[in-house]
Every structure is written in structure tokens, then in C-alpha cells.
């Protein structure tokens, strides 16, 4: 197991680095490795780099790749933690309606104040908190357990509710120029990446990762159920609240910057769980790196597959993710829980 984990960690790190590199190299204008290298490290190399290359690397491709990595890490990390918390491999920020809540909050914020204001992340966070509270409250039975089906049904219902809020925001804005802004959030894309976003998201992801890894042993104990976790010295409700708060914060921040990009938080943690087991001390950091690599690759595919048209990456992840989710639902439903 230890050996396999080391191999998986190595592969993930390699995938992320190559993804970041390819994300910078490929696009409408193909850049050479040497040019990019010089643009990234201007002081050390002798030759001069054309100004447009420096501009493409620093203002378009690098922020886009880095934002993709951070958003992927945030979503995948949230998914891994939520799966552990709900003791259910089908949980994810999208299935649980957290992302839908964040999108509705973001849509209302855009409608009221326009894009690029402080209201946007706040709206996303408030929407996400309301959604997660509703889903958790609905799915938690009297015996304090959350079954797969009530969880997914509650997620569907809450997602539909917040979907209606988002649609309402689009409908109301349909004569104004803000409709395009809202539609962008719904499709989910990294096309508007800038360094300000990264400066906000980077500390959120790092802090979220650190605190969640510190909570990982308690998350492991929760796999024994609330009573079993209590017998191991873990206060189940307190731990639950912390994890919900952190995953909501991560998801809402990611959604407020890149819109709704689905299924990253479902596929990556699930695959990694199959590969390296459920020990969250290892699974959480692995999910963060895996999610980062996945989203950068997915974004690269989304903007190069249908050249010159750039596909929003949310559409691509949904194409990949929805069949995967159905497959999971089938295999999970067969297993007696």
C-alpha cells in the first residue's frame, strides 16, 4: 500500500507539472518550450523574448493554468472531504447542491452589482451555505444517518430550487448586458482568469487543505458512524460543522471565479479512493493534486479540441462526468449499504 501510494503521488505530481507546462505551450498561438522558459525566467537566460510571447504567457496562459489548478484542487478536495463526511462515495459539491447554491448566489450578485465586485464571492458563499444546510437537514434521518438515496434526492431538490433562482436571475437580466455574465457562470470556464483571482483563491485552497488534512484523522473516525467516532474521542457534530464550513468555503470561492464546473469533485476523489484507499490523511492531499491536474488537462482539451471555438470547460467535465456518475450509481446501488 505504501509503495502504491508513493507511485500514485509521483504520477499525480508528474501529471500536474506536465499539465501546467502544456497549458502554457498550447493554444491559438503555439509557443516553443525555449521561448516559454525564457518568458517565465527572464533574468537567467540570455536571448530576448518577443513582447507578445511574454504577454501571452504572463497575462493569459499562466494565470489560466494556475487558476485551473487551484479550482480543480478546491473542488476535488471538497468532494473527497464530503464523501468522507457523508460516508458516501457519491457525495460531491455538485451532487449535494452546494455548487448550485453558490451559482445562484453568484447570479443574484451579478444581477444586483455586476461582475467583479466583492458581492460575488459573498453571494456565492451565502448561497452555498444555505444549500448545504438544506441538503444536510433534509437527508439526515431520525437515526442521524444519511442514506445514499435521501442524500441524492435532497441534492436534486435543492439543486432544482437554486437552478430556478439562477434561471430567474437570467430571465430578469435578459434585456441587460449582464445576462452574458450570468450565463458564463452557469457554463463554467476559466477564460476570465486573472492574477487577482489567483491571489484570493491560492490562500483559500492552501488553508483549506491544511485544516482539512489536520481534520483527516477525525474524518477517518467518522467512517465508523457518529457513535463509533464518539468512542474514538471525536465530537461528531463539531467535526461535521467544520468540514461543511471548509468545503463550502472552498467550493464557493472556486465557483465565484470559474462558475459551475461539475464532476471534478466526484470523479477524482472516487478514482483515488479506489487506488490508494480511504485514509484521508493521504487521500485529501492526493485529491487536491489530482483535481488540479485533471482540470488543467480538461481545460486544455476544451480550448483546443474544437479550435478555433473555445468550449467552456464545464461542458467538457459534464460530458465526462455524467456517464461516470451513472456508472457509480449503478455499482453502488447493487452493493447493500
Amino acid at each position: 500500500m505504501t509503495r502504491r501510494r508513493a507511485t500514485v503521488a509521483g504520477c499525480l505530481a508528474g501529471l500536474l507539472l506536465t499539465a501546467l507546462l502544456c497549458g502554457i505551450l498550447f493554444g491559438p498561438t503555439s509557443l516553443g518550450v525555449r521561448e516559454v522558459w525564457r518568458a517565465l525566467l527572464p533574468g537567467r537566460s540570455g536571448g530576448t523574448v518577443p513582447a507578445h510571447v511574454v504577454s501571452i504567457v504572463h497575462r493569459i496562459r499562466l494565470p489560466r493554468a494556475v487558476l485551473g489548478a487551484l479550482v480543480g484542487a478546491a473542488l476535488s478536495l471538497s468532494g473527497a472531504a464530503l464523501q468522507g463526511l457523508f460516508r458516501n462515495p457519491l457525495a460531491s459539491p455538485y451532487v449535494l447542491g452546494v455548487a448550485g447554491g453558490a451559482a445562484a448566489g453568484a447570479a443574484l450578485a451579478i444581477l444586483l452589482a455586476g461582475p467583479h465586485t466583492w458581492l460575488l464571492p459573498v453571494g456565492a458563499f451565502v448561497g452555498a451555505i444555505i444549500a448545504v444546510t438544506l441538503v444536510y437537514g433534509l437527508a439526515r434521518g431520525r437515526d442521524r444517518r444519511t442514506s445514499t438515496f435521501t442524500l441524492i434526492l435532497a441534492g436534486v431538490a435543492v439543486s432544482a430550487l437554486f437552478g430556478a433562482v439562477t434561471s430567474f436571475a437570467i430571465f430578469v437580466s435578459s434585456r441587460g448586458e449582464r445576462m452574458a455574465d450570468i450565463v458564463f457562470w452557469m457554463l463554467g470556464g476559466l477564460g476570465r482568469a486573472d492574477w487577482t483571482d489567483i491571489l484570493i483563491l491560492c490562500p483559500v485552497v492552501l488553508a483549506g487543505l491544511l485544516v482539512l488534512v489536520a481534520l483527516a484523522p477525525r474524518l477517518n473516525a467518522l467512517a465508523r458512524g457518529e457513535q463509533g467516532a464518539f468512542h474514538l474521542g471525536v465530537h461528531p457534530e463539531r467535526t461535521t460543522r467544520w468540514i461543511l464550513l471548509l468545503t463550502t468555503l472552498l467550493t464557493a470561492t472556486a465557483v465565484s471565479m470559474a462558475g459551475t464546473i461539475g464532476f471534478v469533485g466526484l470523479i477524482i476523489p472516487h478514482l483515488l479512493r479506489l487506488l490508494i484507499g480511504s485514509d484521508h490523511r493521504v487521500l485529501l492531499p492526493a485529491s487536491a493534486i489530482g483535481g488540479a491536474a485533471f482540470l488543467v488537462w480538461a481545460d486544455l482539451a476544451a480550448r483546443t479540441l474544437l479550435r478555433p471555438v473555445e468550449l467552456p470547460v464545464g461542458i467538457l467535465t459534464a460530458f465526462l462526468g455524467a456517464p461516470f456518475f451513472l456508472f457509480l450509481l449503478r455499482t453502488q446501488a447493487r452493493r447493500p449499504s
Binding site: N220, G277, S278
Partner: protein, 264 residues
């Protein structure tokens, strides 16, 4: 006194009390077996004693301190408790599960130290699960899973061990193995309270036997004085013969088919 319940009464919300006015004390090194019909309140009593449920009246003291005022972590350093049929909702290896037993002893950063690793290794060896350490819990048989959970409880290095039907669903061999393991830990100074259905195991392994009936503690005492034909008939609604086998130092309880007359 390791753990002591004083006049404990507990009811689930909007329900009649499940256990009434129960007083019971565990001494270090002592094994007390809790018996009683289904629904007599054994599991609820164990949950109250473990600090998980807070009684409506009465108190539980752990080493002289009120258990319901202590934090979950503080309790778990001294009391290891396994609920009926412990399960893992997600896939973990046996070693990861046994390591969870060290959780209450870890510092704020929850890093395992040398002493923690040693306790894990000891628990794996004690329960004969060392060779299963890297296997997934879901790939094991019921008996192996039960041993892995016992290893987790032993890794907690508790003073008190509370077990709810640890032999349930085990074959005869594993039942004996589990009970012997528990006896060894009690000999090493642990206080054990274990709920069992098998009255012969109660007679063989209990220093004292506590009989629950309709949520009340009917009687507590050494097996040879408690496990009588009349008491078993009352508490379990079961006719039986009680036979002492001096050569085995055992008291055997042999159920009689309900329709047969005892006198024949």
C-alpha cells in the same frame, strides 16, 4: 472503581424510559457480563456508560469524575467501546483502523509518535491480526473484522472496555477466541463490561453476571449464584436445566424445549 453508574435512568426523546434506576460499578481487572432478553436495555445501558448518551437522571463516574462533563477525547483515552456489529462505511486497511484507536492520545496535530506505533503493533499482535494489517477491512471474514475492531479498542490502551455482543455472528471457534482474548485483557487489569446472549459464555467468562429485565437491573452477582433456573425462566421466559460440571469448573445452562414439561 473504574466506572460507576448511580441510579441511571434514560429515555429516548418522546419515549418511555428504556433503562430505569440502574446502579452498577466495575472494578479494575473484573469482567462483568450483561445478559438479558432482546430489548431489555443492554445496548442503551452500554451507550450511557460510554458517555455517548446522557441519562435523564442519575450519574456515571469515570475514575471519580462525572463522565458527561468530560470531553469525548478525554473519555476515549480511558474507555474503549465497541457498538454492536461495528462497521466501516468506507474502505480502510486493518492497520489504518487500528491506528484510529490511538486518535484520543494524539496531540493537537494528530501525529503518531513512537509510543503510538508501538501500541498499534502490540494490538495487532495481541489479536493475531498482524498478517491482515495491510488488507482492506471489507475483504475480511466476520471473525477477522471483529478481531480488527478489538485490536482498535486495545490500541486505545483503555482502563475500561465496553463491548456490545462481540461474539454475534461469529462461528464457535471465533466466539471462544474472542472471549479468551477479553479474559486475557481483564487479567492484565482492564475492567470489562460485555453484553452477551450466550448464557454459557456468561457463566464461563463472567466474574459477575448482571441480568437485565424490562430495563431494570434484576440482579448482579457471581454466575453460580445468579444463573439459576428460576431467574432464567423469569428474565428470558425460558425453561432450562442448570448443570454444574465440577471436572470442568463450569456451570452449564441447557435450554429445554418450551413445550416439554420440566418435571419429566
Amino acid at each position: 472503581m473504574s466506572l460507576e453508574a448511580c441510579a441511571v435512568t434514560f429515555a429516548y426523546p418522546r419515549n418511555e424510559p428504556v433503562i430505569h434506576d440502574i446502579s452498577l460499578a466495575l472494578d479494575p481487572g473484573e469482567t462483568v457480563v450483561l445478559v438479558g432478553a432482546n430489548g431489555s436495555g443492554k445496548s442503551t445501558l452500554l451507550r450511557v456508560l460510554s458517555g455517548y448518551l446522557c441519562p435523564q437522571s442519575g450519574t456515571v463516574h469515570l475514575k471519580g469524575r462525572m463522565i458527561h462533563r468530560l470531553s469525548a477525547q478525554h473519555i476515549a483515552r480511558r474507555v474503549a467501546s465497541l457498538e454492536q456489529q461495528p462497521t466501516m462505511a468506507l474502505d480502510f486497511t486493518v492497520r489504518e483502523i487500528v491506528e484510529m484507536g490511538r486518535l484520543p492520545h494524539l496531540g493537537p496535530l494528530r501525529r503518531m509518535k513512537t509510543a503510538d506505533h508501538r501500541a498499534v503493533t502490540d494490538a495487532l499482535l495481541m489479536t493475531n491480526t498482524a498478517e491482515l494489517a495491510d488488507r482492506s477491512i471489507h475483504a475480511l471474514s466476520g471473525g477477522e473484522q471483529q478481531r480488527a475492531f478489538l485490536a482498535m479498542a486495545f490500541a486505545q490502551s483503555p482502563d475500561v472496555l465496553l463491548l456490545d455482543e462481540p461474539t454475534r455472528h461469529l462461528d464457535v471457534h471465533y466466539q471462544i477466541e474472542t472471549m479468551e482474548l477479553i479474559r486475557q485483557r481483564a487479567a492484565a487489569g482492564l475492567s470489562v463490561l460485555v453484553a452477551l446472549h450466550d448464557l454459557n459464555h456468561a457463566a464461563a467468562y463472567g466474574d459477575r453476571v448482571a441480568v437485565m429485565h424490562h430495563g431494570r437491573l434484576r440482579v448482579v452477582g457471581p454466575p453460580e449464584s445468579v444463573l439459576s433456573e428460576s431467574l432464567i425462566r423469569e428474565a428470558f421466559n425460558l425453561a432450562c436445566h442448570v448443570v454444574d460440571v465440577p471436572s470442568l469448573h463450569r456451570r452449564l445452562i441447557v435450554p429445554v424445549e418450551p413445550r416439554n414439561d420440566l418435571s419429566t
